[in-house]
Symmetry: D3
Subunit: 328 residues, 6 copies
């Protein structure tokens, strides 16, 4: 494969057979191309999908590393056609680039590879929409840094759907799943006031993190507040506010924002959380916004799933977001 | 047992002991009579319950065949008295006829038995309300054909609660769980315009099935639309529309219409689906309508259930429908 | 340990290590003191937590006896700071007294110990708020009797969140989990008209229990009614009505009031039940009311839990109630 | 039903349909008669099966109360013909008498009913072999006392397959699942020297219990010793020793004698325990001995089962024992 | 793909990426070639692997249809090097042909495709060893008939490892999973005296099937007998006896021959069954025998598996057999 | 706490209550002291127990990090008295030091802390027997290096019970769970010829690792060979060979040596592995040997456990080893 631009990636472990003449009623795995044994011609894909099977950086042990493969298995049961909006995602040209290579014991090295992967995607496919399947939330810091490295003049904002602030102390934890937003703020990649976090929960965020958020002017709306105002309204408002201030909005979906009854696979999901119907609407709205240029879906541990419902939800998040993207 | 009118049925495998003098605080299994070792006198029952343990006709492997026995076990924990409406179902005379006999390898033969079972029920208990516990959705085609054979002059309409159109190509699949509505349309049993399908989901219905539905004037409301309008409202509207056009409304409840968090046992249930409270209200409303004359509950695979919640929901659907029936 | 006032209790089996200088970002297990090997000075605690690992008195076999330890394990993942209300529960002084001693085969003896435990708490910590983790619902009768014995001149009312009346016949069952409210009424501890029960379900309450409730003027609102009116509204109304009539409102939360999809661990939870967000709001409102002076959380069998969601909900109920308490 | 001799029993909740002309290839549920709605003629059955759904008397919470129904469900998949020995159990006339009535909160009353049930069986069916499905091990004391009451002049010995001595202090626990053998010794029902216990485990029996066993001359063989000598050999030897000294040998099988990998449903089963093949051989040998006149199978909690393997083993124990009985 | 000889097959749905230069430390999925998008040159493979995802023909509902994909997923964790025998399976040239096409509702059509697949394999790869992953046991009849059709002059014998005779009545069940051996005998494909069945269990084989076996001179050894004699000894003896009488020995491994503790995924596995170490030794011995020319592995339902142990065992059976094959 | 010698440790999170006067019938958690809030006087303990909750260094994601807490919970059901050998472990003075502090993202730092912990144990408690609960197998390299640092003049040998060689390439993986023995050999800590590995499996060890083992004269016995010779014999022989050559034998038990049916929680356990009875005997024999001076138990992921059987086995390994130790 000449000029393969992604030395930091393992090609997808599974290449799905396609029936040559299949043009309608596509399943998602028949739509998304994969980097197989033969080299693709690398046209400018609309969507590039990246797996980051890293969860060693989780504060609590997690198998979120299994999530990219789990999503790939699960999307075989989804079609590309969205009856709700009469939109067929197959009109987008999409490729699954595979997974960022992982080192067994050297987390900093792996983190560097993640950042490089985003840099490479921005260089080789500048017009593409990167969709990343984590892995734990630590990867968001690396991906946004990679974006910033590729686009140093852009101002980047974050739309975060999360139960937590993710503003814990870098000195204590390093680049872990509890620190990515602080990492981005302290590294100067993103300003606190350009972060909007929706879905936070009582009892799972220390007072000192709230204080940090206030000091850095991070915007946040608890789940309880969001439910009262309506999720759609809160999302729309956050996008409007960011729209005036930043060039790019990076959407990061921590799956633990969901209610634990809807998403048992997110180790930190809680009762009283967001419902899937609300989350799907939220990301579709975000997908419609022209400044939302990348998404990641993180912190989902498929080993804790029950009946496959959580992984199905993660796939649905991706497809709902892309539905919005088609509606731009 | 002289003149036993149901040669195509296995009598219920479990006959529940009753305390002879028990007249109040009945549990469902103490209320519903069973065809035991001694022959019943065959009065005209209000409700006849039929099990159809067939799921070999599912496109994906399913153990929906276990559902009739699972529901029978589960209803032991339900009482007949509905506090919400101050109605005691025990005022209805109900009998469990047992299960349609299954052939191990001959699906067409089994399908024929199902149709014959409905013909027999209509002949022997013409004033009864048949309640069928599937099995997969293929059985709906057989049951409605049986109804039509018994009542050739009636116009039959379908109220379908489902995530899917069930309009897939008969040539490719035969009478499978993805084809019953098309089967009914193409066999001339039911007209497309007399089908109302509520609860359909994006990503699980191919564009070509939507096209087929449009061509045949099938009415449909996606889950997202139904939720915005209110389920009760959508159901009421569908019943009103059918009321003017057909003699009989057959209600078919594909349990995969429920959110997967509420019904993990329906293999094709999705996140973002209907909630149980919504479904119970929907079927109670349908039960109240005088033209709704039969119901089936299908596509629930108890082996995938978690904590028994899905099978409990199936029983609750049956009892909520009968509550409506009592309110006629 | 001189003058240890609780001979009927086993001290908590787990004493959590605390980092001596930890003053912020406390987890719940770092906040709640335990009766360890050294005697506490017994200041007047704001909150005293009691475990009652009794479920032999359940009509159906239950391991609700495991719940107190399960909740203690689960609250390690909760912080004391409630972001929603900007309240830190750590301002309350709380102690975990441990569990009421259980006899292997003598249920009446254990019931007596439970009553004595409440008497002792009222004598030794008269200004404290008792929070009891059951165990099955039979314990509510004992706890309220203990309260009444300690405060014979008080009129006590009950605010009950429950799927069931719990008014079954004492002659048939004895002091079981289906009889506590009848036990309190028939023993003259509480008047029927001072009981408000919210969340009752159709099909799980016999007609004769409704009749009993009506005869004794027990107030009740089914889940279906409560949902239509809004849970918050219904709770507020019940509190207002009780406020004018009783000195003390005892709040009893039978966890089976929750929808089974949200609480698979309550053996009698049903589909169509209350959602966790609704329950958390309900108990927070109750916590704010000055006459609500005790709470118990019962009938949760952790062995039936899925992904820990139910036990997490039980802890969240406790913390939501205490949040309300802080807002008085 | 005139002269129904078992007022302390609930008739079996499930009465299996039989095909009238079925005489060969019987499944176990088609062979064992049940006391249905019509009265049996009460011939002298060879085998009478009794369920005792009591586990409130367990020191640790157990749902062994579910075992009788679980075994009844499981034996539907077993045939009556034992290919290994070319013996058809159907030549024995067997009846399932149902379950001993349980009181929700009065354990002593329930224990009394169990004893009375054995007395009644011995009076009404003096030549039958009683097979009891527990319940927890406390019931063995009641059953043997009932036997002794019916046959006051007989000397009774015990062959016990168990991980534990079951000699714990009656003063501390009462008639619980840890005390039945001590109960029998201290009540003078059985002499310690007429008890043979095989399969005991290190780390699960206190030194003081060993001392008690030694003082009362209880015979015991640990699992480790039994495995070295061969289970068959050890059983045969115990039977020979008892043969010379007692009139009746009562066989009690505590299912926790099995390795936890083979029997996850016995809460106290351990790794390194007996294998099912060994247990089946052991009980078949016991079944062959003419003085073994009753058996119970206890301490199996079906809620802890995995893939149904433990309940299947319990049924296999019963059938292997009866195979031996046929070989007398 | 010109001249693709397998129109009745779906190509494997997963094509594993291989690192081009990988020559040592191969995992099984890196060793076995797949029929991918580009046509293979069809050399004469040593081993051809075939999936048959059919379990609609099971008497009890089974998802053995999931087994071929489950085995393909599981073998990713196995290496090709067998340390026990210092043999590397990678010296064999192996290809995974994919799965026999399945019809949703027409079982006879699917059965015909299975037979045709074996005919095609024998024509196109006459020197290959076919390894078939079922599916339920009905497929064995089709595969052996296909073999016989391709080699009409050969006498074929069967070495069967099974808990059951699989000699049930064809008239009652058709070509189901309980009838394949009778199917082969009655169709004249194999003579009863050329069938050796090892591992049969008491209580799971009707007397009339034993009679049939005796009449047709089928050889059988129960599990209990086999364990006493030693599995290796019994297998060797059966092979020796067949060696003198037949041209080809077809090995069929019904995974329910295993103890249920070792193989919870075989719906009919029992306690007291074969252990995995015994089965692996048995199939390795069979693999060494020059007349054993095909193997199938059937009746494993991965949805019932616990911790993946059963599917791992199925893969180990395949690899142990191939190890024996390398030792010829 | 003055002079607390273990700055790299977190004290045990759970301190068990003890009844002051309890001297007999101790449970393991009542016997093992913990470092609580008050400082112990640090006598010279016979046994020091150390938890190492590290599994970030696993090649495949593992939650072996949960194992130390899981073992501490599980040992509450074990007594200290071993009936098999009539030995009470309570005669040993034992302390649980707690867990080595873990960094969220800096694996090398954590590895250093592990090594320091062993150095500290050897300095402060030179006569103690260290028992370490992993964590993954990477920790063995650190613990043995710590030992060697504390005793630079000693020759250390390894007795390893394992399915794998653990000799993978350090350059590729770093100090991961697949490399500890190679790490010890290449760092000069241990010579290859002083390593005895028993229990290795075919298909899970690459040929190149066998070659490495042969080159470095590592001794190894596959499970299949060990079973033929008898585990006890093989262990005894290995100890005898090491006895003449080294000063200290370090015993490392990788729990994946067990059969997956006996230990589903070891992610890499296989069918055909060691049985628990065999492993318990093996470690007891090792415990008796005077040169065996430390043990670790690794690679057990409690989240994969079924019915608690695997964690129970790990505790049993520890107690069987200590039984042997008491027999010296």
């Amino acid at each position: 494969m000449t000029n393969y631009p992604y030395p930091m990636l393992d090609r997808p472990s599974m290449v799905w057979s396609k029936q040559a003449d299949r043009t309608s009623d596509l399943k998602v795995h028949e739509w998304i191309e994969t980097v197989g044994e033969s080299s693709p011609s690398w046209p400018d894909y609309d969507v590039t999908i990246l797996g980051v099977p890293l969860s060693k950086s989780s504060i609590s042990t997690s198998a979120a590393s299994d999530n990219p493969e789990a999503m790939r298995q699960a999307w075989k049961s989804f079609g590309t056609y969205n009856l709700d909006e009469d939109i067929d995602l197959a009109k987008l040209k999409a490729i699954d680039l595979g997974n960022v290579k992982q080192h067994a014991t050297d987390i900093p090295y792996t983190h560097q590879q993640i950042e490089q992967a985003m840099v490479a995607i921005r260089s080789h496919h500048p017009h593409t929409l990167p969709v990343t399947m984590g892995g734990d939330h630590s990867i968001t810091a690396m991906l946004v840094k990679g974006w910033k490295k590729a686009h140093p003049d852009e101002t980047v904002g974050i739309l975060q759907l999360d139960t937590h602030f993710d503003l814990r102390d870098l000195n204590a934890f390093g680049p872990a799943n509890g620190t990515p937003i602080r990492n981005l703020i302290e590294s100067g990649t993103v300003e606190g006031k350009h972060v909007h976090n929706i879905g936070l929960h009582g009892f799972f965020n220390a007072k000192e993190l709230k204080n940090y958020a206030d000091e850095h002017e991070v915007h946040y709306t608890t789940m309880k507040q969001a439910r009262k105002k309506g999720i759609a309204h809160v999302i729309t408002q956050a996008l409007e506010q960011l729209d005036g201030k930043v060039d790019t909005i990076y959407l990061t979906v921590d799956m633990d924002v969901l209610d634990i009854a809807h998403n048992p696979a997110a180790p930190a999901a809680t009762p009283g959380g967001m419902y899937t119907e609300e989350l799907f609407e939220a990301v579709q709205i975000a997908g419609e916004h022209p400044k939302v240029k990348a998404i990641d879906i993180v912190c989902l541990d498929p080993r804790k799933d029950l009946g496959g419902m959580s992984v199905k939800s993660a796939v649905h998040v991706m497809l709902s977001f892309l539905t919005g993207y088609c509606m731009r």
